[in-house]
Amino acid sequence: MAADVGVKNKDARNTLLGFLGIAALVLVLLFVQSLATAEDPLRGVAKFNGALTLFAIWGIAAVSLNLINGTLGILSLGHHGFMLIGGYATGLLILSEDARNRILVSGRSTMTERTLGLSVHSWFESLGLDALTTDDTLWLRYLVAIVVGGLVAAFAGLIVGIPSLRLRGDYLAIVTFGFGEIIRLSASTRLFAPLTNGALGFPGVPQRFASDQLLWPFGLLALTVFVMAKLKYSSYGRAMEAIREDEIAAEAMGINLAYHKVLGFVIAAFFAGVAGGLWVSWLGGVRLDFFLFQLTFFFLVAISVGGTGSITGVLLGTALVVFIRQYGDPLEQSYAVSTWAQLVGVVFLIAAGAVIVYRSARRVRPRVHPVVYLLGTAALVAILLGLVAPSFDFWQETFRGFGMRAIFLSVLLIVIMIFRPSGIVGRSEFSWAWVFGERRDQPTEEERAQDAWLTNPELQRRLAGDEENLHSIDGDSKGES
């Protein structure tokens, strides 16, 4: 009984801590938001604000991709396609009246009056809900637009999910990639141009919800994480994990493969559509090149680096990716070649040191791999040449590190895949018990005592491999009978 009360107390404590944590987060977000409106000459707060928003938007997409990649175990590469559908739908439904009129009068637009008439505003008007068409209630229309965008994307997820019933592994990955690219390529064709305005896209999506109000994207992120966590520990999530581990065994246990796979795709696509809606709102418009494969790659990095299958890990990975995207821009500026040489030398030195540490920790011989000598020599030469270059007047031309952030992310992904394929946190999730150093996955002494099967002394001896005593017991019992 005592243990029971303890567990209940801990549950109450965890709930309380959870609410306190959320409240603290909300306060921090409100504080940052209030800072952004104040004077900000260096744009540091605005940049941080942007990083937070980006974290929330990409977090939604990455957590939803994690449902397919981590929980369901299917490598899906078409998430940018779902985001595109959600983004275009939301953008079209919430487009401001000014922007609609400008598109209508411009000669280059391919959108018609009918497709431009598609808006939550006009729906509400035709329903007679004039109170909901004012500027004050834009948030409600935006919410409706985002939900509709998510539903349209979910429908696309249904279509994409169907091939997953027949295909497995890397073929399926290619097919999802193909679907993503088909969605992207056909969005600009004349068939869909009345809806998408072709390659031009359209500006004029209200930005107020994604960039000015941090609570919007973070609220939706919290909703996504809540749904995903609930799903993960529900029977559906367990079934999906069973499918990930072994499809045939899962089917033998009576799990409906087709249903769960398609369900996973639909839910993930819905949240990807929501993320797309926030994304176009953040960017203030819709264009085809907002939805490149690059996006899916970033989410893939977030998932694989953070921890495949763990929501905590995915959020951690997203934070890392967003940090590099937002604060890695010093890498992409122009420096003299000698500076670059020194930088490359330092990176090589760090890599060489990491190899030595790794091999020592793993007790692999030789501790100093030949590659280390190569790397170390190259690093020293590069640093030395970089240092003397200014005095001997060579390597002085500047060089712009275009694409360095993406290079960094891909190298990071390769390194993680080689040395820690399950990601930084693996499959474990954040929990308060972990924070307090409690292990709730282990039974308490009392629970152990209640378990008659485990307390059977004969079984314990057998488990301990105590062969001699085992034989004596067997002998005794035989003798008695």
């Binding site: 592994g169 290619i174 679907f179 056909s186 790659f297 275009f402 390769i414």
Partner: protein, 402 residues
Amino acid sequence: MSGSKLQSAATGRNWIPWLVIGAILLVIIGRILYLGTISERFNAAFFTRAGIESLKLGSLYALIALGYTMVYGIIRLINFAHGEVFMVGAFLTYFLFSGSPYSWPVAALYGLCIAYGFMRVLEFWRGRLTDPLVLVGGAVALLVSTLMLATLTVNLVFALIFSMLLTGVVGITIDRVAYHPLRTAPRNSLLITAIAVSFLLQNAGLLVFTNRQTPFRPDTPINNAFSFTILGGEVRTSWLIVAIPLITTVLVVVLTLFVNRTRLGKAMRATAQDAEVAQMMGVSVNRVIATTFLLGSMLAAAGGAMWGLNFGSINQPAVMGILPGIKAFAAAVIGGIGSLPGAVIGAMVIGFSENFLTAIFPRTPDFRGITEFKDTFAFLLLIFVLLVRPSGIVGEDLSEKV
């Protein structure tokens, strides 16, 4: 389980594919005859031109698809980075060809890589990298390439050869650095790594080469105009129409001979059958894999160079490799992944569907044409083939795997 299903389907309804092919051919012929009646524009010359253009495009795809199919046959990896290797080949050809002479250290660095690639190629013949003849060959290659790069402007043929060797070295390096540590890892990790390598190469291309579309119209004989008449219509095109399929044929024949006639080729086939058993039989699997990457990357480099010549420009590094790469992969799957003839057949199917279909369903007053959708054909065909006949046209069991 699925194998038995496949076999019964194959033995039970053998006539269905033929029926489908026949129906498609009938539709195409009917469409051509119909188009001939509605406009003067659609004469024999129009369709001949569309046909040979498709052949040209198909042979370009074939060069890339061979790399995909070989790598998949050996290590069961969809080498996502192959499209980017193709891009690297195109850019290296461009820079080796149109660049003015390099400074000595740069030329020596290029020369070292070229010599290493050349030694790997000579290794096919002598069997060991440390064989005296191979070493002599490498030294000669180093001297010749360094001298050429440092003193003269290289002509197109040499630029192509150098670029193939360099790209081959790039391929080997990718395998050694990124894929080799993951030989026993789950397939998904390997595929994610391949995607990362592809992204890395795209951005490295952006960093090293350029971020703009690069015009590539060298003043060489194969770019000259070439025209002939057929059934009274004149077909105006360039000598590339002869050169590209010809070079592709030569390379494919050499590759097939290599795979079928040499010891290393035999080792490749054995590894494709069963890597573990091959290793027990004394095949050096790592060497076979390196060879596969070398050959695939060399073919991709040739494809990239000719792609640039064909379209008159090389696209931005970040986008050049993606579509051709993934279409070539689709070609490899359509033909039957793991099979060399399958890759060529699949590439032709893609080339014709992309070019010939858009030609016979052109824009007419009452029809918008399907040109806009041509990039999606490869994906649709890929999905269709994967759902209906995952073993592809040639099929895995019917032909030799590599």
